[in-house]
């Protein structure tokens, strides 16, 4: 099984290093880091998560800009190790509230304590924050969330934290509040990553939603919870045929497939689409789902590139928000590669534009257009004039694009999957914990071709 586990910073220094079996030579962390850093440097390729150097298998995940690495000589299941690494990161985050280099460095003794219980002699023992609580004695040293430096896009976890207001989700599962007592609360997040590809004429070529219902419970006494989803929720292609003549937006929600956390009981799921569970401490995914059923994409994107005289071209990008006016999308970034021989760029924002910036990334030959927010129903246009250093040959549209969008839309979900209610088994009449249900939609791959 696993021989060593270690966490490396972005610069490659050991933050935590645990050798479980003594089968792999000591220099492994350095070997790993060099290999990752210089992986086909000329082609700018990223190192794959699993590789072998001199008979040692290095398996890693990147979380919050850190490398979580396991080494082994055994022909293990790669999935098992990758899932385990991801889970270790999550357990640490449960404990520390925030997972980053600073919090790890401050709490490395606690992390060692966790690692001792999570893995013994290379075999995974438990990754349940709940069970670990009774074995772990160090108190987490909480890092101030407000002083956090912004991290790279690699950190799914931090993205998660960013969209949550206040301290809620960056709160440790074990640390007690300054007041000495914990607030009874539970968070349920419906997070959807959407992928849409528009053809040059604006048709939707492919679309998919990968969603997850995440839960983080701070309830004491482990009460049972019932989570009710849309009553007419359909699952699997078989059920889709029943609704074949539904309109694309108004009908029932049909998921292609879904999976569940092991604590979830599906006794009444077939009857009333209710999930029952006793949530363990810490953050976990109650349910993951995938949907390829047609849905209304939140943004319509139109992009056009046209030659405008010798050595000149014009680019027009239009973005229209196809959602209710009560919803606002945040931090939208529009990117578009332009022909490599582009030498100069001049941007023309629409009149009265607020909170919009433009940039030409000279090295990557890419236009970048950032919008602080887009209100539902609004449409924004960017005109750009390009100047070329040489004449374009033939079809200019083939030399540019595609346009890519990045965005986050709080309180919106494209699939229309809803949590109808969140019921907590009552311990006493006065017991009324806080329940937070939120929806977030993020772009995964939102592309418009030219």
């Amino acid at each position: 099984m696993i021989s060593q586990f270690f966490v490396l910073s972005q610069r490659g220094d050991n933050i935590v290093f645990r050798d479980y079996r003594g089968e792999v030579p000591k220099g492994s962390a350095e070997i790993f880091f060099r290999k990752v850093k210089f992986w086909k440097e000329d082609e700018e390729e990223e190192a794959p998560p699993v590789f072998n150097v001199d008979g040692v298998n290095y398996i890693h995940v990147k979380v919050a800009g850190l490398f979580f690495v396991a080494t082994t000589r055994v022909n293990v299941s790669p999935s098992l190790v990758l899932e385990l690494l991801q889970r270790i990161a999550r357990v640490i985050k449960d404990y520390l509230g925030i997972l980053n280099e600073d919090s790890l460095r401050k709490n490395f003794v606690l992390v060692y304590e966790l690692l001792d219980e999570v893995i013994d002699f290379g075999y995974p023992q438990t990754t349940s924050t709940e069970i670990l609580k009774s074995y772990v004695f160090n108190e987490p040293i909480v890092v101030d969330a407000a002083r956090l430096p912004t991290l790279g896009p690699a950190s799914m976890f931090m993205q998660g934290a960013k969209r949550m207001p206040g301290t809620a989700v960056t709160k440790s599962v074990v640390a007690t509040e300054p007041g000495g007592r914990k607030r009874e609360e539970i968070f349920v997040d419906i997070i959807e990553k959407i992928s849409v590809t528009f053809s040059s004429s604006g048709y939707i070529l492919t679309s998919e939603i990968d969603g997850t219902i995440q839960m983080k419970s701070y309830l004491t006494g482990n009460p049972e919870i019932r989570l009710a989803l849309n009553e007419d929720l359909g699952i699997g292609k078989g059920s889709a045929s029943l609704y074949d003549y539904r309109s694309s937006a108004g009908g029932a929600v049909i998921l292609d497939d879904c999976n569940f956390h092991e604590s979830v009981r599906l006794d009444s799921f077939d009857v009333d689409r209710t999930l029952a569970l006793i949530p363990p401490d810490g953050e976990f995914a109650v349910m993951n789902y995938r949907m390829t059923q047609e849905f209304t994409p939140p943004f319509r994107v139109n992009a056009l590139i046209e030659e405008a005289g010798q050595l000149k071209a014009e680019v027009i990008i239009k973005v229209r928000a196809d959602f209710a006016t009560s919803v606002t999308a945040n931090t939208i970034t529009v990117q578009m590669p332009v022909p490599t021989y582009t030498s100069r760029v001049s941007f023309e924002l629409e009149a009265g534009a607020v909170g919009q910036t433009t940039d030409f990334k000279e090295g990557a030959k890419r236009l970048e257009w950032c919008l602080k927010k887009i209100v539902g129903g609004a449409e924004h246009t960017l005109r750009t004039k390009l100047t070329f250093s040489q004449e374009s040959h033939g079809n200019i549209a083939r030399e540019a694009g595609p346009v890519n969008l990045n965005f986050t839309i709080p309180m919106y979900n494209a699939s229309k999957l809803q949590v109808r209610y969140l019921q907590i088994a009552k311990k006493s009449p006065s017991y009324n914990p806080y329940r937070w249900v939120r929806y977030v939609t993020q772009s995964n791959s939102y592309v418009a071709r030219l």
């Binding site: 610069r11 990223e46 890693h60 990758l82 991801q86 990968d210």
Partner: protein
């Protein structure tokens, strides 16, 4: 850089971190920046030394202290020690002080101390003795937590001469009332086994574990017992019959059902390992199979990808002999796998996608309607995009090719250059595997119009391959290719492809001789030998078609070639020169023979290798796309190599034939893949076989072929190997003395063999290389045995497991003399070498026999 500051706030409480936070970065910066380090070493060592001795001093002062707050100070000091340990600084000098400080009731302190001790005990066995006392005492503590921790640390010391102290705490640990302690004790047995196997067996621990596994109420204790027994019996299996039997019992119906019925009690990680065990189980009948599958059905809905993959492995292996159910399994597992690809991090997706890739490659037909799922997404890292491109290539068929190729063409203009290249190659591969390539050829030709260097380069290589398969397209292609300026083509592969086309189609390209002339003028600037070789051949071809225009250029090329410093270029130039000198019409037959279109390009991997990878589903083999013997040494192949262990050297082959092999039944089901492969084999042979019967024909078809194949090692390296070997072989086989013939029906009983082997001396002992095809085919000894038998060399005994196989073979002269040759042949597939020892009744004939043997072996796998 200044030496790390000395910590002053010694009295701070554990919740307020002190100096160590500042230490870590400064030290790690020192460790990381290689250059400044060289200058800093002296001062740095000094400060580190004084740091450690300072630590020692402080620890000593605190050791006996009962003062309030002493524990807090200790915590700080311990943290500093461990932070040094983490960044790789040796703090073992403080060992005795650390042990002195360990007498405490503070559990956090205890844990840090255990961590420290575990890390350094092995290098300081004498000091480790100091810890035994307090660890043993802690093993009897009232708190089960302390008992467990102490026992774990005690077993982790890894000091051989301390094993005597382990036995009694372990025995009582296994019977402890607390499941936590039992859990720790079970793994402690494994640790003990690795330090001293004899102590472990003498204390009869495996038997206790077996008992515990079947009776304990705690699931994790049961799981740990299973891990430990599996590891121990796997390692012991080669040494003793009993271990082998014990290993079998783990796979008995009784054990398997016991675990299956409790499966939901186990946590997800234990479930994975149990499922892995179940995938090795051989069911008694189809009811058995359906029972297991029904029981595990809901595991496919688990959010943990590892559980799902382990379940899928069980399903796939159980249904191997039931064609239609097997196919249903494929259908059933599609949706959960696709969901997993979308739900986790990209690393997790990669592991799942690798498995999906394997399944797609085995049964592309079954996935042909799911092609949209394999479109690349903007956010996919390149390692995922590559897999997806390969899958799209594999599942392209009449119904979806148009969509897939359209999508791939979008990627060709991608900013991500490696992916753009891969996409173009993918389009080319699809073209090569389709019947109707009309539209694809058009697309490829459009690529050439994009005028991006790398696009042009990749496309040229493809157009060349395409023309070899579909000569009928030459007209359209040549028109476009003729317009490309050779100045814009710099990559050797692409240049070689362009030159090949110029030579091959010089009749249809008016400028061909002049372009070639131009290129030959710049001979000295051409760095790649590959390109120069092609220039020679192209000049020859062009000359034979359009002599007056090319004569001058050919002369220049031959002159430059003969003077070339590269051996192959030199030799080829000389060969052409002499051919022309001898007879131009013969040269024409050699260089420009009528060509057969290549029907199928050879597959890169043999079907045996693919089957092997499939057997190792849900392991790293799938991610690496290599069977485990290619990247792991035997001792570490671990619990996953369970079923098909072959005894050391068995005389009966029955047992091996009974071993579960899945290839055959699987082929019936997955016809589409195997068909392709079967087509692949014969076509190469087909091209080459005429040469065997008619020598002059043989040469004429082979020389230009080999010159073509050298230009695309990436796509068809198999073909070029095969042909190169054939070439080499023809040289070898031709001079072999025909005098030695072997008796194809020779017989020898093992007793006589053994006697003769003992009596005769070694007449030849030599190491010979094995072709890559041979290595690929040698997944079981049987393959080679059959092959050698076809060459009248018979096997009397064989055994081993990849990468090492051992064969005892014999052959008999076919002259009625009853003169035998005996051979011991040890094949190592990872080094692709065979160690051969020959003993002969008639030692004078052994050279001739060895030549025969070598040539037979070199043909293996083709």
């Amino acid at each position: 850089m200044a030496p790390p500051p000395i910590v002053q706030q010694k009295s701070s409480s554990p919740s307020q971190p002190s100096g160590y936070v500042f230490f870590l970065p400064s030290l790690s910066v020192l460790l990381l920046n290689r250059k400044p380090l060289r200058f800093l070493i002296p001062s740095y060592c000094l400060s580190r030394k004084s740091e450690v001795s300072d630590l020692k001093l402080q620890l000593r002062q605190l050791a006996g202290s009962r003062a309030p707050g002493a524990d807090d100070s200790k915590r700080d000091l311990f943290k500093r020690v461990i932070s040094y340990m983490t960044v790789g600084i040796d703090v073992s000098a403080a060992f005795s002080e650390m042990v002195m400080c360990s007498a405490t009731s503070d559990i956090v302190l205890k844990k840090m101390c255990y961590l420290y001790v575990g890390n350094y005990a092995r290098c300081h066995p004498d000091l480790a003795l100091l810890t035994i006392n307090f660890l043993q005492k802690d093993c009897r503590d009232v708190d089960p937590m302390i008992r467990g921790l102490a026992l774990r640390s005690l077993c982790s010391l890894r000091v051989p001469n301390l094993v005597e102290y382990l036995v009694s705490p372990l025995s009582s640990g296994l019977e402890d009332g607390s499941p936590y302690v039992r859990m720790v004790a079970v793994l402690g047995v494994l640790k003990l086994y690795h330090i001293s196997a004899t102590t472990c067996f003498d204390s009869d621990f495996p038997a206790s574990l077996k008992n515990l596994m079947l009776t304990d109420s705690d699931a994790q204790v049961v799981a740990n017992c299973l891990f430990v027994l599996q590891e121990i019996w796997n390692l012991e299996a080669n040494k003793s019959e009993e271990a082998n039997r014990e290993r079998e019992t783990l796979l008995s119906k009784q054990t398997i059902y016991y675990l299956l019925n409790r499966i939901k009690e186990f946590n997800e990680w234990a479930q994975c390992l149990i499922l892995e065990l179940i995938s090795k189980y051989i069911p008694s009948d189809s009811n058995d199979i359906f029972d297991i599958m029904n029981l595990l059905e809901d595991r496919l809905q688990h959010a943990n990808g590892a559980v799902v993959l382990a379940t899928i492995k069980v399903f796939l292996h159980l249904t191997m002999s039931m064609t239609d159910v097997h196919q249903q399994v494929y259908e059933r597992l599609k949706a959960p796998l696709l969901t997993l690809v979308g739900s986790g991090s990209s690393e997790q997706s990669y592991a799942v996608l690798s498995h999906l890739h394997l399944l797609v490659m085995r049964a592309p037909m079954l996935f042909s309607s799911d092609y949209k799922h394999f479109y690349c997404q903007f956010s996919d890292p390149s390692y995922i995009k590559k897999l997806k491109l390969e899958m799209l290539t594999a599942i392209a068929n009449e119904s979806n090719t148009y969509e897939i190729v359209t999508e791939l063409c979008e990627y060709a203009g991608n900013v991500d250059v490696p992916i753009a290249r891969e996409s173009i190659r993918a389009v080319g591969k699809i073209a090569l595997q389709q019947y109707d390539v009309n539209a694809i050829v058009d697309r490829l030709l459009q690529f050439l119009e994009m005028e991006k260097d790398y696009v042009t380069a990749e496309t040229l290589v493809l157009v060349k391959d395409l023309l070899r398969k579909y000569p009928q397209w030459s007209h359209d292609c040549i028109a476009v290719v003729g317009n490309i300026s050779s100045k814009n083509v710099q990559e050797p592969k692409a240049k070689a492809a362009l030159i090949w086309m110029l030579g091959e189609y010089s009749k249809d390209m008016p400028d061909a001789p002049y372009i070639l002339e131009n290129l030959i003028e710049n001979w000295d600037d051409e760095n790649a030998a590959e390109v120069r070789l092609h220039l020679l051949t192209a000049a020859m071809k062009c000359f034979l078609k359009r002599p007056p225009e090319t004569q001058k250029a050919l002369g220049a090329a031959l002159a430059a070639g003969v003077a070339d410093s590269h051996q192959d270029v030199h030799d080829r130039a000389l060969l052409y020169y002499r051919l022309l000198q001898y007879d131009v019409s013969v040269a024409e037959r050699v260089v420009n023979p009528p060509k057969q279109a290549v029907s199928v390009f050879a597959d890169l991997q043999s079907s045996e290798v693919k089957d092997r990878i499939f057997d190792e589903f849900n392991t790293l083999s799938v991610v690496y796309q290599k069977p485990s013997y290619m990247f792991t040494d035997k001792e570490h192949r671990g619990p996953f190599e369970f079923s098909e262990e072959i005894g050391n050297l068995s005389l009966d082959q029955e047992s091996m034939d009974n071993a579960p092999r899945f290839d055959e039944s699987d082929k019936d089901l997955l016809l589409s893949t195997s068909e392709r492969e079967e087509n692949g084999g014969p076509s190469i042979n087909g091209a080459a076989t005429p040469g065997y019967s008619a020598p002059h024909d043989y040469n004429s078809s082979l020389v230009p072929l080999s010159s073509q194949t050298q230009s695309e090692p990436a796509v068809t390296s198999r073909t070029s190997f095969a042909i190169d070997d054939l070439l080499g072989l023809s040289m070898l086989a031709a001079p072999a003395p025909p005098s030695l013939k072997l008796n194809s029906k020779a017989a020898l009983d093992p007793g006589t063999f053994q006697r003769k082997w003992g009596q005769l001396g070694v007449s030849i002992s030599q190491e010979i290389p094995i072709s890559p095809q041979g290595v690929g085919s040698l997944t079981t000894p049987q393959a080679l045995i059959r092959h050698m038998q076809a060459n009248s060399i018979h096997c009397i005994a064989s055994g081993g497991q990849s990468p090492n196989f051992k064969f005892f073979l014999f052959a008999q002269k076919d002259d009625g003399s009853a003169s035998f040759f005996l051979v011991e042949c040890i094949v190592n597939t990872s080094s692709a070498k065979a160690q051969v020892k020959v003993k002969a009744d008639d030692a004078s004939a052994s050279e001739a026999f060895f030549a025969l043997f070598q040539s037979a072996l070199s043909k293996f796998g083709m």
